[in-house]
Symmetry: C2
Subunit: 205 residues, 2 copies
Amino acid sequence: MEFSSKLLERAVNEMSQLPGIGKRTALRLVLHMLRQPKEHTFALSEALQTMRKDVKFCKSCHNISDVELCEICSNPNRNAHIICVVEDVRDVMAIENTSSFKGLYHVLGGKISPMDGIGPHDLNIESLVGKVKEGKVKELIFALSSTMEGDTTNFYIFKQIQDFQIFTSTIARGISVGDELEYADEITLGRSIINRIPFETSIKL
Amino acid sequence: MEFSSKLLERAVNEMSQLPGIGKRTALRLVLHMLRQPKEHTFALSEALQTMRKDVKFCKSCHNISDVELCEICSNPNRNAHIICVVEDVRDVMAIENTSSFKGLYHVLGGKISPMDGIGPHDLNIESLVGKVKEGKVKELIFALSSTMEGDTTNFYIFKQIQDFQIFTSTIARGISVGDELEYADEITLGRSIINRIPFETSIKL
């Protein structure tokens, strides 16, 4: 790609470093910025810079926060005895959106993945085990994605905490609400049969 | 979408102002930045800001440039008698990539589109007509997209310059190289028959 301006080229190159943004998309975005008032670009640029500089991670659950202890962890109405273990911040947002969980979270910051060079020590596992050792946790809910990496991570954490008397659970796998059975994959369908629940329970949901 | 951090929320909101970037994509991009070293975000932010502040438009062809007169317009080896009229900067880059044009460009900055509130005076048409009036232009090539807006814009410009003795042309429409005839639309196929060229000419390309 030949650019008529070095400034344009640099902006496009920086933009195309972002995941899923190729050179063409980056060019389209940058040209859009040139058509908009200067202030839009300055606001975007400033927001990104401030965010990157000042954003904190909650010292307890490692969720993104503006303060030392995030709103969820510092909320006295939430049940501090149940901790839902998730991969990243988006999972916290997704579960919060359902309004079906009133415990606390623990954000691992990824999954164990030897292929990507991510080991247990790159994740926030130690602090989670620490919480369990302190004896305040009664239940740990594993809510990682059900991939090989997710299962490995679940199992690694389970091994570390199995000697403590706490209940561990994992979110239910099954056919999505509204999905047709014939299009479901075998493993999910199989699991949904094995882990069937009493009909009377299901109609109360 | 509930955010655990105002800084994060603002960054996502600003990012999702860009065309084709929704809230979810913006969040993905911003979380990616948080995982990367701070310097990456600062470099992106600085590149966008500098670009928006310092980028110039060539005073002759309105192409994006770092200097007053762009590299193409100031190149003495290019034929200043032929001007290719394009919609935006990306079209200049696309045509330059083909290495098949050695004249100059004129970037209109859009197409006449009453639906979007874009009239002839919002585009760089006056300066184009000015060039023709000066008598230095021998040929004008219309290379706008063949939509109703493109055709309207071509016709508007043509009306303004038809009294001057210059040759006007439009890029060839036809079946793309490598495309199957059966999948071509009727209008394109029809035009490609009407505007057929001598076989001997085609094998020289």
